[in-house]
């Protein structure tokens, strides 16, 4: 009788211990998301932290990135490694590392204000920058994003993509998107030129993300032009970055309400 009661108590104690352990996994699962990503918290902080409004200006710097010499013939990507990829392309797909436009300009060049904005803090926009995976290619190939601005990554393919971004200054991430239409939000917490993102399932896939502390950046498109608007008047150092050809810098002065012109030139 007495022992029975004793054992019942042992049991109750055991159950308490067990529940202590047993409930943890659920908590663990519940918090694992935050622990792994950490974004939601950082987002909130970012919004609170930056009280000073961006030093809005009315100046503009614009220009084009030219390419000197003969355009190299673009390499073709063989997509037969994954039939899902191949299916989506009727035409042969070319590599995006060196794309020379018909007007002799260079695509996929990231141009940004390297210095001249020191001492000013900029609120990251709530609007997300987007990176799409479509036809087993990143779209766009090169993007710019502000520090702490959300980056929305979408998988538009019916195959697995893993988005493996390896920034040195922010937290690296490697997330898998197994299902078509899946979206994930990530962000970078420190400036970095450039963050490379790859997909390990499709070795040809690569995207570059320029992370800067301000909104004054641009990526050259089919016309090879860029335009940085809303700058305050001042002296700036501009840098143009290209995946293959490295970086070029130029200094420029722009007065209030004026438009300055800066051209870069890369050679093959």
């Amino acid at each position: 009788m007495r022992y029975e009661r004793q054992h019942a108590w042992i049991f109750v104690a055991g159950v308490l211990v067990a529940i202590g352990c047993g409930s943890r996994p659920q908590d663990a699962a519940a918090t694992s998301g935050d622990a792994q990503g950490g974004e939601p918290i950082q987002l909130a902080q970012a919004a609170d932290e930056v009280a000073s409004a961006p030093a809005a200006g009315s100046s503009t710097i614009q220009g084009t990135v030219k390419f000197a010499g003969a355009a190299p013939s673009a390499e073709r990507i063989k997509m037969d490694a994954d039939p899902q990829c191949k299916l989506q392309h009727q035409e042969p797909v070319e590599k995006q590392d060196v794309v020379v436009n018909p007007n002799g300009t260079l695509q996929h060049v990231f141009v940004y204000v390297k210095s001249g904005l020191e001492g000013t803090t900029f609120t990251p926009p709530a609007q997300a920058a987007t990176l799409d995976q479509h036809g087993c290619m990143y779209s766009p190939h090169v993007i710019g994003i502000q520090v702490n601005q959300p980056l929305e990554i979408t998988n538009s393919d019916a195959t697995l993509h893993n988005v493996n971004c390896k920034p040195a200054n922010s937290k690296p991430f490697n997330l898998a998107q197994p299902v078509k239409g899946m979206k994930s939000k990530k962000q970078f917490t420190a400036p970095e030129i450039m963050v490379k993102c790859v997909c390990n399932v499709h070795p040809w896939m690569a995207a570059y993300v320029g992370v800067v502390a301000h909104p004054y950046y641009g990526v050259t498109g089919a016309d090879g032009a860029f335009s940085l608007t809303g700058l305050p008047a001042g002296d700036y150092t501009l840098e143009a970055w290209h995946e293959k050809f490295g970086v070029k810098t130029k200094t420029v002065h722009v007065g209030d309400g004026e438009t300055a012109s800066v051209d870069f030139e890369f050679a093959g």
């Binding site: 352990c21 943890r24 663990a28 998301g33």
Partner: protein, 573 residues
């Protein structure tokens, strides 16, 4: 050697939490491992969801695992964490502690007529290493990158490349290994030195023989695992090169500074522990079954001596077969031949045990109680586990079946069909002794029958999947052309898996209800012969009012010319 005597009553903490009483420690192990088994089962159910309905959202899981299942859709890395944690939890925190920790602690002193274990404080320490080990392993879910995701086998160099969750896994395994070693030393010392007067080695019940041999295996094998995981930890944290060869380029980054490491060394060390560990997980269950079958057949165990030699043989051979896990690893094929030979030979002592059990039933007077049902389920399921092992032992066949669902089915027939049914047999048999109340027979049989049916419905199709070429540890198998017709089978297995987990509710209800409301158990409700039944249920601190003297073997049932059909080991000769 035991502490105190029945009248000295320590306080609450000393009695129920930090107790040195082997019975309390045994029950602590029992409760902990039952909870972990349930948790491991839930992880498996979650995996079966993904395998049955790949990529389909499971809405409520989004809240529990926002990163693992965003929008309720599981991502592959989370699936990898699930099977890693499922395997690790089931083996390190479920099966080993329930068979060795719970029953080893509870039964050894009682069955050999000792007042307690040889080293009660060591015993307490061996239990109290478990909760931190569990917490650290599960803490992996909290850390950057999530829990360990390299499988319970943690093959280097994948395990060398993964994040902090893998470190949690390593530390947890070191703790649980230390616990095993402590327990093993204690069991060996107790069985060697604390047997009651007249309890010769060949009067020991088979469960004690099994636990004794298990403890020896555990003592010899576990340090090797500890060494291996410490090397892995050093490779990860201090840049050593035990398992890392020169020239590795992981995810585009050259792993400079490593050279001379051997990837296969991890597998040799790991399986040098983990193959004996398979026997650590099955021998105790064999021991329990060897105790239960004679009792409910009312007949002596057939071939007691050959049973002892058989488990000793299995244990010895168990140390010589580790590389049969590596037939496809690229090791020298000539080495494969010798490991195949040793592996095939294991079938012989295992066969002896199987046939001796059958012969024990032959011409018995069988009572199909809940423990007996589970013991017979053990025979029938372990048989399948053992026979499918022969496929895996035949190297050319194994090369095809290796890392397919055939192996998953094989190991579940051994570890769930064998070990866990053995554990259920043990729980239902010794529950009256542990808690002084009888379990409900009807609920027990319903639970046993449902578990048996659903278990087979989940696990047997795995052999078909394996033969069909479905690899294990696969998040989404639907992309492979040769597997596309397995949808229906996979969904059926998943439904059965959910039912299997749900059926455990019956066991829980039975356990709790009987604990408080069950019929009171007498000293010896099963009319059994061994010493644990020669004291009150539950036994007092110190176990026996007067130290017993043994003058009979453990299985003296239906002795001609006796009034009762059983002769207790301590009965006067």
């Amino acid at each position: 050697m035991s502490e105190g005597h029945p009248s000295s009553r320590p306080g609450f903490w000393r009695t129920y939490v930090f107790s040195t009483d082997h019975k309390t420690i045994g029950i602590q192990f029992l409760i902990t491992s039952l909870v972990m088994l349930l948790f491991g089962g839930l992880l498996a159910a979650l995996m079966r969801w993904q395998l049955g309905w790949p990529g389909q959202p499971l809405a409520f899981m989004e809240k529990l695992a926002p990163n693992g299942m965003p929008g309720g859709v599981m991502v592959p890395e989370y699936y990898n964490m699930l099977f890693t944690m499922h395997g690790s939890i089931m083996i390190f925190f479920g099966i080993i502690p329930i068979l060795v920790g719970a029953f080893g602690n509870y039964l050894i002193p009682l069955k050999i007529g000792a007042p307690d274990m040889a080293f009660p404080k060591l015993n307490m320490a061996s239990y109290w290493l478990m909760p931190p080990a569990i917490l650290i392993m599960l803490a992996g879910f909290f850390v950057e990158g999530g829990a360990a995701a390299s499988g319970w086998t943690a093959y280097a160099p994948l395990s060398s490349t993964l994040g902090a969750g893998q470190t949690c896994w390593i530390i947890s395994v070191i703790l649980v290994g230390t616990s095993s070693i402590m327990g093993a030393i204690n069991y060996i010392a107790t069985i060697v030195s604390l047997r009651a007067k007249g309890m010769t080695f060949f009067r020991l019940p088979m469960s004690i023989w099994a636990l004794f041999i298990t403890a020896i295996m555990s003592l010899l094998a576990t340090p090797v695992l500890a060494a291996a995981v410490i090397m892995l930890l050093l490779d990860r944290s201090l840049g050593t090169s035990f398992f890392l060869p020169a020239g590795m380029v992981v995810d585009g980054v050259a792993w400079a500074g490593h050279s001379g490491g051997q990837v296969l060394l991890w597998q040799h060390l790991f399986w040098f522990y983990s193959h004996p560990a398979v026997y650590i997980m099955i021998l105790p269950a064999m021991g329990f079954v060897s105790d239960i079958l004679p009792n409910f057949s009312r007949k002596p165990l057939f071939g007691y001596h050959s049973m002892v030699y058989a488990i000793s043989g299995i244990a010895l051979l168990g140390f010589l077969v580790w590389a049969h896990h590596m037939f496809a690893s690229g090791m020298n094929p000539a080495l494969g031949t010798s490991f195949m030979a040793a592996t095939m030979v294991i079938a012989v002592p295992t066969g002896v045990k199987m046939f001796n059990w059958l012969a024990t039933l032959w011409r018995g007077s069988i009572r199909l109680t809940t423990p007996m049902f589970h013991a017979c389920a053990f025979l029938s399921l372990f048989l399948i586990g053992g026979l499918t092992g022969i496929f895996a032992a035949s190297m050319p066949v194994d090369v095809y079946l290796h890392d397919t669902y055939f192996i998953v089915g094989h190991l579940h027939y051994v570890l769930l069909g064998g070990s866990l049914f053995g554990a259920f047999a043990g729980i239902t048999y010794w529950f009256p002794k542990m808690f002084g109340r009888m379990l409900d027979e009807r609920l027990g049989l319903v639970h046993g029958a449902l578990t048996f049916i659903f278990f087979n419905a989940v696990m047997f199709p795995m052999f078909i999947l394996g033969i069909g070429g479905m690899p294990r540890r696969i998040y989404d198998w639907t992309q492979y052309a040769h597997l596309t017709h397995f949808g229906g089978l996979n969904r059926m297995m998943s439904v059965a898996a959910f039912c299997l987990v749900t059926a455990q509710l019956i066991f829980m209800v039975n356990f709790f209800w009987s604990l408080f409301k069950g019929k009171r158990a007498s000293e010896n409700p099963w009319d059994s012969t061994t010493l644990e039944w020669a004291t009150s249920s539950p036994p007092p601190h110190g176990n026996f009012a007067t130290p017993p003297t043994v003058s009979h073997g453990p299985y003296e049932y239906s002795v001609p010319g006796r009034a009762t059909d059983w002769v207790a080991q301590n009965a006067a000769s």
